[in-house]
Symmetry: C2
Subunit: 230 residues, 2 copies
């Protein structure tokens, strides 16, 4: 039995990654971070998804780093970009980029995995239909795997904790189709960056999600601002 | 002016690393973690050291990870090793090893550094007189630097945040001599792994420290259990 720590935000991607791990027969410890994100609503989604999949355990960790990071995802005084508009003016990477987020998440996940003797950590990083975040690329995932080889007890004594990124090279359409095949309870997921009752439909995350559903020619079951329920 | 995030635990090594950064004229943001370590006493030392050096700011971050890590430093039901005795029986790495600790610390420090536009992060990792922790080695530091190159916005757009480990190849004797030269307020530092009023004098950290002072032929100004003050 493979024991895996699965990073679960409660969104479409991480819920699908959890479903993939579950289909493979992995014993899953789900790991969710409260890092002061605007969209705390996703924590509730993560809880429901973890419950749906009857995971071995669901660990929620508080990281008091949000206010120290320069990101519109954690600092409400910065505007959330939409429609491809990037407000920092310096690059194609939007202000929703949280510096080092996946590095911090994977570090903590790997530390816990090593502590409990897990075989793998699973992260839903995706480098196809994404916002250009540099910590979602194959180069980052490979670099992190190498770091575990040289920088952990497990790695210097034998095979390190294995980093799995099953969605890395999938399009958003592929991810939606995979979620449907695996019967992921999509109505429980939350991808929107804003903290409203309904998804805004305009932030980068909503737009990527909606495009994925459109391309997969299916209906997104969650409620969006200004749209009638289907 | 170089702006640097300096990881400050409050011990001999990190206080000396801060003094080195200060001598170089760096503008310092000190960063201290409360991760549920037994020796919370070191947090008070970190505050006093940061105050002594009149740092630009001192950021204390709570990471709720201690109870999820398999380490005698964070789990009081595990015995602290002393006199080179390693209680896990599998390797030369003692049970005080906290899986992924420096990886988590450097990830958060680099994330903050990137957010505030700092040039460097400074870590007091030392690979000479140390407990064999794999996340204190040159291979780990170099691996982490490479990760910043591929996995951060700063790294993909230009030079990443620079990781400096000024003590990496110094012996404990060298570190004590450097601390004396720089007039580090050694009486404010705390290295002991136990949480007592006085340092225990027997845990691995105390033993390494005391050996450093002995080899540097000087007196350690802090109070130890069962020893008279000088």
């Amino acid at each position: 039995m493979v024991l895996a720590v699965v990073l679960l935000s409660g969104g479409l991607d991480s819920s699908t990654a959890l479903a993939i791990a579950s289909e493979k027969g992995y014993d899953v410890v789900a790991l969710t971070f409260n890092y002061g994100q605007r969209h705390m609503r996703e924590l509730e989604s993560a809880r429901r998804i973890a419950e749906h999949y009857n995971v071995k355990s669901h660990v929620e960790i508080f990281l008091g780093i949000g206010q120290h990071l320069q990101s519109s995802l954690t600092r409400s005084e910065l505007e959330l970009p939409s429609d491809g508009e990037h407000t920092d003016g310096t690059s194609g990477i939007p202000t929703t980029y949280v510096p080092g987020r996946n590095m911090v998440f994977l570090s903590v996940a790997s530390a816990i995995a090593e502590g409990i003797g897990a075989d793998a950590v699973v992260i839903a990083a995706n480098a196809v239909d994404f916002s250009g975040y540099p910590d979602c690329t194959p180069e980052f995932i490979e670099g992190f795997q190498r770091l575990l080889e040289v920088g952990t007890k497990r790695g210097v004594e034998g095979p390190p904790v294995r980093v799995e990124a099953p969605l890395l090279r999938m399009s958003k359409e592929d991810i939606v189709r995979e979620a449907l095949r695996l019967e992921v309870p999509l109505e429980l997921t939350w991808s929107c960056y804003s903290g409203g009752e309904r998804a805004c439909g305009t932030c980068d995350s909503c737009r990527l999600r909606l495009r994925g559903f459109a391309e997969a020619e299916t209906h997104d079951p969650i409620a969006y601002e200004g749209r009638d329920e289907a």
